[in-house]
């Protein structure tokens, strides 16, 4: 059983660490988004009632002027911390990527914003990884998640003195200390880790276990399609008729939706084939309103405003269970205190995995002092690469933030380049780690991390006007919070680097 734990951890440790770091960063995606788009004003949300209608009207006016022939319009209303801005997107008829714009919530004027993938990219890397085809990434992430669940369960089973060792942390004892740290990180956040691993699997369950649908729907691939069609039935969809028609007024539609939902506000509006006689306006509620990740959807006729289809938030217990697990995983519903706890638990997950990998190398290294290891080159390589895998990744993410501020705002292909720089820096750090003795590599990369994060507020001040001296007095807590968090991270890395410096053999 212990070997299952070790092998599951070894094979997938680096990938799981990447998923935990990007997952934790992704939990703060909206805040990171805002810091990476300093042109955006302080968000004002929610905008309920008449303000919502006014914002929607202005968004529609903008879309009508900007993309009257688009296949699809999408309007995100400013509803909560997760979606604090008024944002529009449209799918051009000529095909190609969707375009988007941020609008001022009061005037409806577009805000010129630098092209960046923002915090959303870090969030998406959590399951899409990067540079990989989607199916390959999904399989790797699914296998890693299964390995995580196994590692957690086998870890509990082999942790012989689970209760006796609950609070134990013996420092300065080499491999023993790493074991204590690994156990403590895991045990302290165990409910979270079990929840996050199981609920993570729920995201990929359709593709991971395809034969289950076949039991009820017949052989694949028809089974999958039929199952999806029953799970997410199309709602009054229609093909474009080719005839133009004046669009229905949005105010009565929003009022009707509000009334059907007992006062709850709409979060997203989606207009299919706008301006067509068979246009469809979908009004979607806020999926992050509660722990159960579900909301009502109402579809109206785009020409006369009549209600055509309705999907309530609660449909059945099995669906609600799935929505609850997904909602718990994403944690979007959480108020600030619970949000902070999610963050701490995510960081503990990163620590649990990192200490696990370090424990493995420490154990092998100590054993190597008594007799030659089975594969000395392998051990040396893992010891060295661990540095870049564990400390190098945060440095690479910091480099992503540096790129966001340093690349010229009018540059073409700016957003993909920021991502390329993240991975280029990470690759360079792997090379550094491979060529440097481990202890020195740990020290150097830790100091680099301290500098990369600690200097971010200075970089912010040098390149934009939204630095701490401006954001703190203005009460712009998102910008100030990011800068302060970067300082705190820099300090934490500096403390680590200093501690490593002191115990130089």
């Amino acid at each position: 059983m212990g070997e299952v734990h070790t092998w599951a951890g070894l094979l997938f440790g680096w990938l799981l660490y990447f998923m935990f770091v990007t997952g934790t960063a992704g939990y703060l995606d909206t805040e990171i988004d805002r810091w990476m788009r300093p042109e955006l004003p302080v968000a004002q949300y929610p905008q309920p009632g008449a303000a919502a209608t006014a914002a929607a009207t202005q968004a529609l006016d903008y879309l009508q002027a900007q993309a009257p022939d688009a296949r699809r319009w999408s309007i995100q209303l400013p509803v909560d911390r997760n979606e604090p801005h008024l944002r529009v997107a449209w799918q051009p008829t000529s095909g190609g990527a969707a375009q988007s714009a941020w609008l001022d919530v009061h005037t409806g004027a577009p805000i010129p914003v630098r092209d960046t993938a923002g915090g959303q990219l870090l969030y998406q890397m959590h399951w899409r990884l990067h540079y990989l085809p989607p199916e390959a990434a999904e399989w790797m992430v699914a296998l890693a998640s299964m390995a995580l669940l196994l590692a957690l369960l086998t870890g509990i089973v082999v942790h012989r003195r689970f209760f006796a060792d609950f609070f134990t942390l013996r420092l300065g004892k080499g491999q023993r200390s790493w074991l204590d740290a690994h156990n403590l990180a895991g045990v302290a956040s165990l409910p979270f880790q079990l929840m996050i691993s199981y609920s993570g699997l729920i995201f990929v369950m359709f593709s991971f276990m395809p034969l289950i649908a076949s039991a009820w729907y017949g052989p694949a691939p028809g089974a999958g399609r039929a199952f999806y069609a029953e799970l997410f039935p199309p709602m009054a969809t229609a093909l474009p008729s080719g005839q133009r028609a004046a669009p229905a007024a949005i105010a009565p539609i929003l009022a009707d939706a509000r009334q059907r939902w007992g006062g709850a506000e709409a979060a997203v509006l989606e207009i299919a084939q706008p301006g067509d006689a068979r246009a469809r306006i979908s009004v979607i509620g806020n999926f992050a309103a509660g722990a159960v990740r579900s909301a009502g959807i109402l579809v109206y006729d785009g020409a006369n405003g009549a209600l055509l289809a309705e999907r309530p938030a609660w449909q059945s217990t099995p669906r609600a269970t799935r929505d609850l697990l997904l909602g718990l995983h994403e944690g979007l519903f959480a108020a600030p205190p619970l949000r902070a706890l999610y963050l701490v638990s995510g960081l503990l997950g990163c620590a649990m995995i990192a200490t696990g990998m370090l424990l493995w190398t420490a154990k092998r290294r100590e054993r190597a002092q008594r007799g030659p290891p089975a594969w000395p080159a392998g051990l040396a390589l893992v010891e060295r690469l661990n540095v870049a895998a564990i400390v190098g990744l945060p440095v690479a993410i910091a480099a992503y933030f540096w790129a966001n501020r340093l690349l010229p705002t009018d540059m073409a292909q700016r957003a993909p380049l920021e991502a390329h720089l993240l991975f280029a820096v990470w690759l360079a750090l792997f090379a550094h780690a491979a060529l440097t003795p481990p202890r020195r590599a740990w020290r150097q990369q830790a100091w680099l991390a301290a500098l990369a994060f600690g200097a971010l507020p200075l970089l912010n001040a040098a390149t934009t006007g939204r630095h701490l001296a401006q954001s703190l007095p203005a009460g712009d807590w998102v910008m100030a919070g990011f800068d302060l968090a970067a300082l705190a991270l820099g300090l934490a890395f500096a403390l680590g680097a200093w501690w490593l410096q002191r115990r130089r053999p």
Binding site: F163, A164, F166, F167, T168, L169, R170, L171, G172, K173, G174, L184, V187, A188, S189, P191, F192, G290, A291, L328, F333, A334, A335, P337, L338, L341, Y342, V344, S345, L348, W499, R502, R503
Partner: protein, 109 residues
């Protein structure tokens, strides 16, 4: 604030449960095994009270999630506290490595 009280109770509860354990008993200079059931009861009661403190603040599901989430930092604080209290004295009785020695030197300042 109720949540701060909940965290304090969680920390207190876990500390009490820790002191009821063989390994950490006697930290406060008191080694009476008879106290252990009482400490355990105190600890569990404090944890339950902490959950009770979260319930008035929010819906039941987020309240339970908050309480479960609080266990993590509270466990860490308890472990850190115990490690600090159990550190070897400056005269260097223990055989631990240089890292712990330098930690002790820092603590004595």
């Amino acid at each position: 604030m109720m949540l701060a009280l909940a965290f304090a109770l969680t920390w207190l509860g876990l500390a009490a449960l820790a002191l009821a354990m063989d390994r950490h008993a006697g930290l406060l200079g008191c080694r009476r095994p008879a106290l252990r059931p009482a400490l355990r009861a105190l600890g569990l009661t404090a944890l339950a009270a902490a959950l009770g403190c979260t319930l008035p603040c929010m819906e039941p599901a987020p309240a339970l999630a908050t309480w479960l989430g609080m266990l993590a930092p509270a466990t860490l604080c308890t472990a850190a506290m115990l490690t600090w209290l159990q550190r070897p004295p400056v005269s260097g009785r223990s055989a631990s490595g240089s890292a712990s020695r330098s930690r002790r030197q820092n603590q004595s300042h």
